[in-house]
């Protein structure tokens, strides 16, 4: 399960970086270049966007590490499960509550399988 989890995390990270980079982050950059905006705003948005990319890479590495070191895997899987569960819940609710439809923020389609896989891995490591 650790390997499946690592694959899901890596795939989601690639989608965030390559697909989201073109369709989400690039328009953001264009928007702020046209508007006189404080450096802090532009920089922080870039920081959180690229930080999430790195977060996925880090979680992929951790899932792989947990797979090869079973004696400490439980804590790692628990940590990954809860972190991704938080994004799964936010993605599920945000689109519905703010924009009126669940598929407005379809990222929950990625985060729920990751969170479930991490919980299954956590249960298996107990």
């Amino acid at each position: 399960m650790g390997l499946i989890l690592a694959f899901l995390l890596f795939a989601t990270g690639c989608i965030h970086h390559f697909r989201g980079g073109g369709s989400i982050w690039a328009p953001m950059l264009v928007q702020w270049q046209d508007v006189k905006q404080k450096k802090l705003v532009k920089g922080t948005l870039g920081f959180i966007w690229h930080g999430v990319t790195l977060w996925f890479i880090g979680m992929t590495g951790l899932a792989l590490y947990a797979y090869v070191t079973p004696h400490i895997a439980q804590g790692i899987y628990l940590s990954l499960a809860i972190q991704n569960l938080s994004f799964a819940i936010i993605a599920s609710l945000y689109g519905k509550l703010v924009y009126g439809r669940f598929l407005a923020s379809p990222q929950w389609l990625f985060f729920w399988p990751i969170a479930v896989a991490a919980f299954v891995a956590y249960s298996g490591a107990m």
Binding site: Q31, G43, S79, L80
Partner: protein, 130 residues
Amino acid sequence: MKSKWNLAAFTVMALTVVAHAFGGGPEIWLPVYESSLPQVVRISMGLVWHGLTVLFIIMAALSLAAYLRPKLSLGINLSLAPINLGFGGVALIYGFVSTGGVLVLPQWILFLPMAVFTFMALKAMQKSEA
């Protein structure tokens, strides 16, 4: 063994939550929410923004859990240290590259100590198990 480094990490992460939600919310997120950007862009950035708010709360809770449940401490600290190092590193490097200074994006001031504290908790746990 309970490590006080985890309590230090919890404190820093709680500060990060407050700074992100109450400082960054009005100053960073609101201009994006109220902008003329396409809806899909605003939704995705909103998800990233609010998702990180909850993630920081979760990381604070995990630091507390690592303090209270030493059995899970090793794995939790091992997962928190590189993630915070990554966030801190991105803030420092991206800030320098995009603005030419390291203080325009000051987020590393919170994330790098968080990485250090969780790493110290990790070392303390390894030492007690040896």
